[in-house]
Subunit: 209 residues, 2 copies
């Protein structure tokens, strides 16, 4: 990535309301950007591994005690509890990759992104936006067997999440996955060209030029 | 360009030391980005039109009196005098395009860019960098029949110009024209995705979503 290739990598946080299409955009990115350029953060969880899942690849599988120890020692960039299981982002994995100059992508819920922002404000925060509220409603409906009440609840949650956009650096509208994916890649490239980032990493590069 | 398409366009200032390859990168951009997406600023000059040059296309051709009037009335974003002729960037043309939501590209010397920065700080300032001082020297030599003394002078000027990099938002290394061109386009895309720019243009877009 040019003259800051020896510097630290970027932490890119991709978030947005459910229904914005975070997972789809991330899969598209995975297909287009090689692992040498962009690393996908591996989450930790206390849930049981499913068939074929590999520790350290799909998740870091932890016992409840281990996970709670990580929380206590501040070893997680963010964490949450869903039903009976913990999920979180180990800080160490992310920092190791960044220190080796690799960019790391975190695809994450709005609440988690808020925690990451507090603990890692130098990250690049991208908010993925559905093209319209109507489209968001259809996407929530498509997810399957929701009652009218659940859809209403989900919509309300989504609107609350939309208000978090004010804490983000960039907004990407997910009108078409291809375009959204291209915009995220452009943001990555542009961030690497930022003068301040360049000088933060290599204040004396002018001498070396 | 997504949800701020109704807003103002961006003024992109591409500058850098002579020998960085500003002209080459701009020609490459012109070939790849259509005029509906990116407008190239038309300069004003007092020099005589050459065969085939069209007023308002290649330059705005002005008399010396007209040009000095524009200077006095602050109608130029930047101007300079080379030998016996004035050259400058009319503010009106740029602002008309921006108000119509079009991005405008200014390819300009470092001194001119400094003037634009003072008069138009909301522009996006990109500094084009040669890959190395050795490469810069070869490029200056390639320009033709320079004496050793002139080359030395030009190198000194270039190094002075390099120090202006501190006033820019982005730094793009012109290692290969294709890559440099791609980076500039990525910067444009990313700037359009900036949350603050979005809200500056359309503070109430959330309601309309």
């Amino acid at each position: 990535m040019g003259i800051d290739s020896k510097g630290k990598g970027l932490l890119i946080v991709l978030s947005g309301p459910s229904g914005a299409g975070k997972g789809t955009v991330c899969s598209a990115l995975r297909k287009r950007v090689s692992e040498t350029e962009l690393i996908y953060s591996v989450s930790a969880t206390t849930r049981q591994p499913r068939q074929g899942e590999v520790d350290g690849v799909n998740y870091f599988f932890k016992t409840r005690d281990e996970f709670e120890g990580m929380i206590d020692r501040g070893e997680l960039l963010e964490w949450a509890r869903y039903v009976d299981n913990y999920y979180g982002t180990p800080r160490r994995f992310v920092e190791e990759q960044l220190n080796q100059g690799r960019d790391v992508l975190l695809e994450i819920e709005v609440q988690g992104a808020k925690q990451v922002k507090e603990r890692f404000p130098e990250g690049v925060f991208i908010f993925l936006l559905p093209p319209s509220l109507d489209e968001l409603r259809s996407r929530i409906l498509e997810r399957g067997t929701e009652t009218e009440e659940t859809v209403k609840d989900r919509m309300n949650v989504a609107v609350d999440e939309l208000e978090q956009v004010y804490h983000y650096d960039y907004v990407v509208v997910n009108d078409r996955v291809e375009s959204a994916c291209g915009r995220v890649r452009s943001i990555l490239t542009a961030e690497h060209c930022k003068r301040e980032r360049l000088f933060h990493n290599q204040p004396d590069w002018l001498e070396g030029l």
